[in-house]
Symmetry: none
Subunit: 208 residues, 4 copies
């Protein structure tokens, strides 16, 4: 079934996935209707169920698609031999940002997805998030922690850094939403870099 979908030409696939993401973002899982998705995608009702079998499975497919897209791009951008925490962080955030520019609905879809309650969605989400944890380990491997000030509690410090970038990216999304403007991602990334610079001075020993 999913194979049928994979065999479509890339353009049609993209059109269908975008249509679905837009609709799910606009209305949430339950309120989104398959009627509107097929209308946006320009395909027939039958086709959608032919490809994905059910609304559930379409949603699950999208979640996997989003995660894979992020992971692939981040892995491409990140040099896992780079021992400098902040350079590595910069690479990762760069990868994330690039994906956000290329597929703007993807970010919004992912944020929405994390708040969903439909049983099957929640179950799949949990499985995939667990699968992400080792990924995190990879990111932190080979880091030269000796560059951090000796007095620091390293685990706490890393958490503070990650929460900051989570909070910052939420704030950027909110700001865009309330001002009704499109994200100017280059300007936003400058802000990201400011915080990286701020943390570098705050947490690294002087010579770095």
């Amino acid at each position: 079934m999913l194979q049928t979908f994979e065999n479509l030409d890339a353009e049609k696939k993209r059109r269908i996935l975008n249509a679905a993401m837009e609709e799910f973002v606009a209305k949430g899982y339950k309120q989104a209707t398959t009627d509107d998705i097929v209308a946006r995608a320009g395909i027939s009702k039958g086709a959608l169920f032919h490809y994905f079998g059910s609304k559930d499975r379409l949603y699950v497919y999208l979640m996997d698609f989003v995660l894979d897209t992020y992971r692939r791009r981040i892995n491409e951008r990140t040099n896992f031999n780079e021992p400098d925490f902040f350079i590595r962080l910069h690479q990762m955030l760069q990868g994330k940002m690039e994906v956000s520019i290329a597929y703007p609905d993807l970010v919004a879809f992912w944020i929405k997805a994390r708040g969903e309650s439909s049983d099957i969605v929640v179950a799949h989400l949990e499985k995939r998030i667990t699968a992400l944890r080792p990924q995190m380990q990879d990111f932190l491997a080979n880091i030269d922690y000796s560059r951090f000030k000796d007095s620091l509690d390293i685990p706490k410090t890393i958490k503070v850094i990650f929460w900051t970038f989570e909070g910052l990216s939420n704030e950027i999304v909110e700001r865009a939403k309330s001002s009704q403007e499109l994200l100017n991602l280059e300007k936003e990334f400058a802000e990201v870099e400011e915080y990286i610079q701020y943390f570098r001075i705050l947490f690294y020993k002087e010579k770095w």
Copy 2:
């Protein structure tokens, strides 16, 4: 209409609000059914609509109730003349935590609400969040910023601190969800205090 609800005895009101919050938390706005809410609350279908008029307005009432409950408790706990940022922060987080212990569904409800797409919910949310901003100004008034190290970028520093506690509280909720255990809030608050202590050392001049 709402007056009719306010006239009920406190215990019945609590039962109804809790029933509604539990249902909305478990299933999200759209999937939650008024049938299940009245069953949980032990009232008739008619009564619910007698009190709130519609599912929409029940949800809006709950959002206001949550915000008011938090605001009231935080205002009670916080001494707005206390010039020490971290003592003030401690007071505020203490207030938040107390509410979370007394009304555990409230936290979960609020997190869910922020991800909803139903038009009326989104609109109301936006209005209330805007109304919260001056509140934030109050919290930061009369703080003695001279206790922070001179080299610090104060606005960034404050943002980092708030995002950290936002991230920490999300993590605590997630942890509870995946371990299926009730929150042991006293233990969790110890963790909050650890981070306060960590920041105090990191950001304050030595003598404080």
Copy 3:
């Protein structure tokens, strides 16, 4: 039960009947709500059911009230010894018009009522309309038909006359509805008199 209602002071009775008629006219039998009726009348829900027992019985009471009001006024105005058909007709239409001025909702209520479908309403209507027929006999008794031209088919002639005034009064109501203006009954009655004059010339022998 109805006795309880009859014992009320006249002003309160009038207020309740008017409130009910306004509501039924505005929305029709089924769409009218007892909530709105008690709100308009300024009495409690319980009172309404105390007086009339049910919505059905309130409606039936109103139908009887309307018919009795018309009948009483028409009987007062009509001289049943007057042998001239057109003078008698003028008296009757005068009586009708007076009621329409005194209780404007009454007319509208009656027109609405005749189009209703609720079983109990239809049944009662039929009974009352049958009871009205002898009334019609009274109206036509003692008329001096020798004043009509000899060539005329009298039964047909009388039907044409009644249908004309039915049609005219419908047209007046429609005209008022579409122009959103209040009925100027004096002007309208001049029109009625024009048609009476037209018929008198058309149907009566020359000397009358």
Copy 4:
């Protein structure tokens, strides 16, 4: 949506429209239930809303259908070059009568519809009735008024004639309703012709 309905085969369309008219006639707009309509029509609930979108729009569709059916048949039967008023009138009433024989519910539906209070129904009714007025102009065009007695007030005369046939057709319907019999339209039309003959003698000059 309506297109979907138009695409159905004629027999199914007829079945659905008849079912809806019967139900609306029997119970009126508000009391009629979509459940009963689909049961009568032998289609699913979903199908009805697939075709018409809402109960409102189904009702509006029926009103248009009734008017179009009448208009089409009357236009077919009427010779708009015929200068004789009564021949033209005969043609028109003949057309009306034919429709009433072919679609008996149509008459009943139309009478009911004129008494309805539902906002959308009233609004549509008003629009359609206004649209009918030019139609009336057409009917009266090219009439040779010189055949009427010179002393007559022509506008009043025409009104009297139309109100008579309106009253007569209402009486025929009432009579049928109270005797629980089907309309024997051929016999009824003989009555219509009697009145035409009566008016011809009353209003035309001798030689006609």
